[in-house]
Symmetry: C2
Subunit: 582 residues, 2 copies
């Protein structure tokens, strides 16, 4: 039965046929064979199905609770993460010297995709822990790595990222958490931290005996004042339990009760209510934000991939439902038995839209994961350009696919008896966390397109041209090649207008630009996949990929023209709106 | 403080300045003065604020429960409906001989809008009861009206609509509830009903001592078989408590647990588990569906208006939040204090989008409500055309506005501490109930555009031309007049293509057609409102309406071209998709 995970065939298509994972340069140790990649992915699929999926709904219904002893989560969450650790999945991406398999990021992402599809809230604990350990492994001292990265890599402890504060969400430069120096010890420069951190996923729980918080805070200057802006931010390791076994001065001030992602304990943490939480600085003073952002890029691809997989699972469940449920007759037909939902043209439209969005989003994120592995100047430039897209496009259009999944299920889809209801609520978080859509749009247009001398843009252009040229030679895809070319030309023309636009006005309509650019990128990658699928068009799987590609080019790509025309008009309709008139 | 109800100014603009409610012909008794309309609307605003709004969140958190005695709802729901009855709001739309004020449907809708904004789930009980009583008052015998309409009009009993069954949702022709004749009594032809009814809002509760179910069922033919299709459906009054005080044979088989609308008890009802529920037929045999559809048109405007008001309240709450919350700096600015959210261009864009969607949707529904009051052949034709739009457009784009309301609130909006979270969950129902978007699209394109000799379309064309001509004479609006004209021309050209398309293929892309047509209608009505607002452009309120109109013409209307081009291409990309390829 289709339970909504990435199908084996689809996984093989993406990871091997399209992205050729086995050709990636070895990261440490030996190169991976296709067989070894597959055995890892098979393990992930089974683990996701057997350990993560069964408590998907239960963890939503029984949210974490808080009492004097701290936060308690569903035992099934602990058990699932224990299994995850047991088979070495926390360590999979780390080098052998840290106990790992040095899996390429593409393969790590593909395996994470299955756990995200099965249970995004439980997978969240693992994702944060791995990101945390990777940060310490990259920037921490050997002692810090041994003390705080290794236990996470082994899955014995879990980790968090403490960035936001109640008054500082998107605007990290405004954080007020204070770190006062307090000498030095084996673990490095030691500090006492005082402040409040908001939206901390995994901020407290009874899953592991210790929790490693990575905390952004500011060290006061000689005048005792905190430095202004983001340059004064440093990064600190603040464990829940100190090396001597005492509890650190970190208190759970409350749990956030969210619409979805309910299985992940999300906390408001107070640091230093009783004098100051002990923390050790990671890396140099004032480097907190750049360090965090190195991790954030991968975290953003992870958010996009999570959104994509929620959409993917909703799509698969919709297909299953539409193949089982009978309702109504085809237009113009009277009498006879009701037909399967999947026979209705409008239901097919809804399924195809979901397929184009969900599979397009998964492809985008895995493509970006592969760029991480390519480790060249070119891939880094392109990845920088595509990261805001990989974060946002799956979050926005994956949510649209989750919405359509409910619609296919009709009234039933709106009840908590069907997983599509929860998938939709879960997916609503993704356009918000790790940088909202509006923030990503400013990053894309401001940093990546109008600055950086457009280096990422030139690389994207070259890759788009290559896909275009190859597609132009295939009769079934030639029209798409023309359309892609036109969309790219309009994108460049719009950017040229923005380059001539004075001052901040260029950014006024950054979000519609991001939306258009995202559609362009997804069209390019759909066409790139079609070039693989077109080798065997009689195969139903390949025919499906080709049809989703065609759908995207017929129904979605044309929207770019409207968005870009608006952006190129440099309209001030929104920016100049007087708040008093709302 | 702005609590998100329709502002007094906006209400006056819509009901008086734009739709001129006081000019409507009297429905019974004397004509309404502007003052008497206003006093009713003021009462509604206060009642919505004082009785409905306070338990909005509480009713979501404490869903109805079921035990052996039946369904129990929050006491605050009962109390709110008691107040609603006390001031005569159940009866407001009924003629004086039934104890009412014979309020025009426009005014009824405007007052309902406030209760829907404050608490859609509690308002649902009233909406269904009024629709039920109106059906009995229209088609029932005098004895039925006295016994079952009057207690609802007085608000002493509540009513339901029992249409769907577990296997028959959109496809009512497939219902299997059976009504066996059992003679006749004072209340008319009596039957014994056996069957299961699904999704029954207000299906059971402890709010009133009796509940009047209006049930669609089929009377078997001489061979004992149920007639096929929808023509064999009749309508029955099936009270929970019989006239002699005994309980009727109606059992609650379960409660549906929905994503939103949780305050409304939504039941699976079993009729006739113990021999057959007693019911009396309303009107003629086999007329159940036409009777129900007479009511359904108003119910569909009601659903659209509910969706619009959920969006409206989310918009108002977003404006309030954006005026209070400080976050970040404007692009290009470093240092200094964080600025109000409302200063950010992208936040203004999100607010303006919400305003254009939410206020556009409210206007659409009130415009349709006024058509009900016009009671001419012209208004009936136009209303038939616009009803699927009034149901769908607010449901789809109102939901999009509710989504944006969360985005404006950032992470906070995703928590259950802010009403925007619940507004979004509540609003997700609206594209489903009372006919899904796909069903509405077939109704619009099949029945209203390609059949009926396009009579509604010609009337719409004439009204659009009138607005266009008046706008063309106003310099500030002349460009919009040109754009509206072009959109209308493209719509007609697309319809001409579909008229030439053979067979069922014309309906394959009915949903994109509905989307385009909805945008066209809303653009027309925005421009019509702008013609009022442009009289006083220096007034901030009018300036806001003009800006929302401009936003709609710049950012939304151009989308029509993409949708219509796709429809006109008669693409089979979705309809011909082989289910095996999904």
């Amino acid at each position: 039965m289709d339970d909504g995970l990435l199908t084996t065939r689809d996984m093989a298509f993406l990871v091997h046929d399209w992205l050729d994972a086995a050709s990636l340069p070895p990261r440490g140790g030996e190169a991976l064979s296709r067989e070894s990649v597959d055995s890892v992915l098979e393990l992930a699929e089974q683990g996701a199905r057997d350990w993560f999926l069964p408590h998907y709904r239960e963890a939503d219904r029984h949210e974490p609770t808080l009492d004097e002893a701290g936060v308690h989560v569903l035992p099934a969450v602990r058990e699932a993460l224990r299994r995850y650790a047991e088979v070495g999945l926390f360590s999979a991406g780390f080098p052998p010297e840290l106990g790992g398999m040095a899996l390429p990021y593409l393969v790590q992402s593909a395996l994470f995709a299955q756990f995200a599809a099965a249970n995004i809230a439980t997978a969240g604990y693992a994702m944060l822990t791995i990101a945390n350990a990777r940060l310490i492994a990259t920037f921490g001292s050997a002692a810090q790595v041994d003390a705080y990265a290794r236990p996470q890599i082994e899955g014995r402890w879990l980790g968090t990222m403490c960035l936001s504060e109640p008054q500082a969400g998107s605007s990290l430069g405004d954080i007020r958490t204070r770190a006062e120096p307090e000498g030095e010890d084996d673990l490095g420069a030691r500090y006492r931290l005082v402040g409040n951190k908001m939206w901390i996923s995994g901020g407290d729980h009874d899953i592991t005996e210790n929790i490693v918080h990575l905390v952004l805070a500011k060290v006061p200057g000689v005048d005792g004042a905190l430095p202004e802006g983001s340059k004064g931010i440093s990064l600190f390791i603040v464990p829940k339990v100190l090396p001597d076994g005492r509890r650190n001065d970190v208190a759970v001030a409350g749990l956030n009760h969210k619409m979805g992602y309910r299985g992940t304990a999300n906390c408001l943490l107070n640091f230093g209510e009783r004098g100051g939480a002990i923390g050790w600085r990671v890396g140099e003073l004032g480097q907190g934000l750049p360090q965090m952002f190195q991790m954030m890029n991968e975290a953003r691809i992870g958010v996009g991939l999570g959104a994509a997989m929620l959409a993917y699972r909703g799509f698969r469940l919709s297909v299953r439902y539409a193949r089982e449920r009978r309702q109504g007759r085809l237009p113009g037909v009277r009498g006879g038995a009701p037909v399967l939902l999947v026979k209705h043209p409008d239901v097919r439209r809804m399924l195809l839209e979901q397929k184009a969005y969900a599979e397009g989003a998964v492809a985008l994120c895995l493509y970006c994961a592969r760029l991480v592995d390519e480790e060249s100047a070119e891939s880094r430039s392109l990845l920088a350009l595509l990261t805001p897209v990989a974060k946002t496009w799956p979050s926005e259009f994956g949510l649209a696919a989750s919405d359509t999944a409910i619609q296919v299920h009709g009234g039933y889809g709106y009840t908590r008896d069907f997983d599509v209801e929860q998938l939709y609520r879960d997916n609503r978080l993704n356009p918000i966390h790790e940088g909202t859509t509006g923030i990503q749009a400013l990053d894309l247009l401001g940093r990546k397109v109008l600055r950086d001398q457009g280096s990422g843009l030139a690389i994207a252009g070259a890759r788009i041209a290559s896909v275009r040229d190859r597609a132009a030679a295939v009769p079934a895809l030639a029209a798409h090649a023309v359309a892609l070319d036109a969309a790219w030309a309009q994108t460049l023309a719009t950017i040229a207008v923005l380059e001539r636009t004075p001052g901040a006005c260029a950014f006024d309509n950054a979000t519609p630009f991001l939306r258009a650019f995202g559609h362009l990128v997804v069209a390019w990658l759909w066409l790139d996949q079609a070039l693989v699928a077109v080798r065997d068009p009689a195969d139903p799987f390949c025919a499906g990929k080709l049809r989703a590609c065609r759908y995207f080019f017929e129904c979605e790509l044309p929207k770019i023209a409207v968005w870009l025309a608006f952006v190129a008009s440099c309209s001030d309709v929104a920016a100049a709106a007087d708040p008093e008139t709302f």
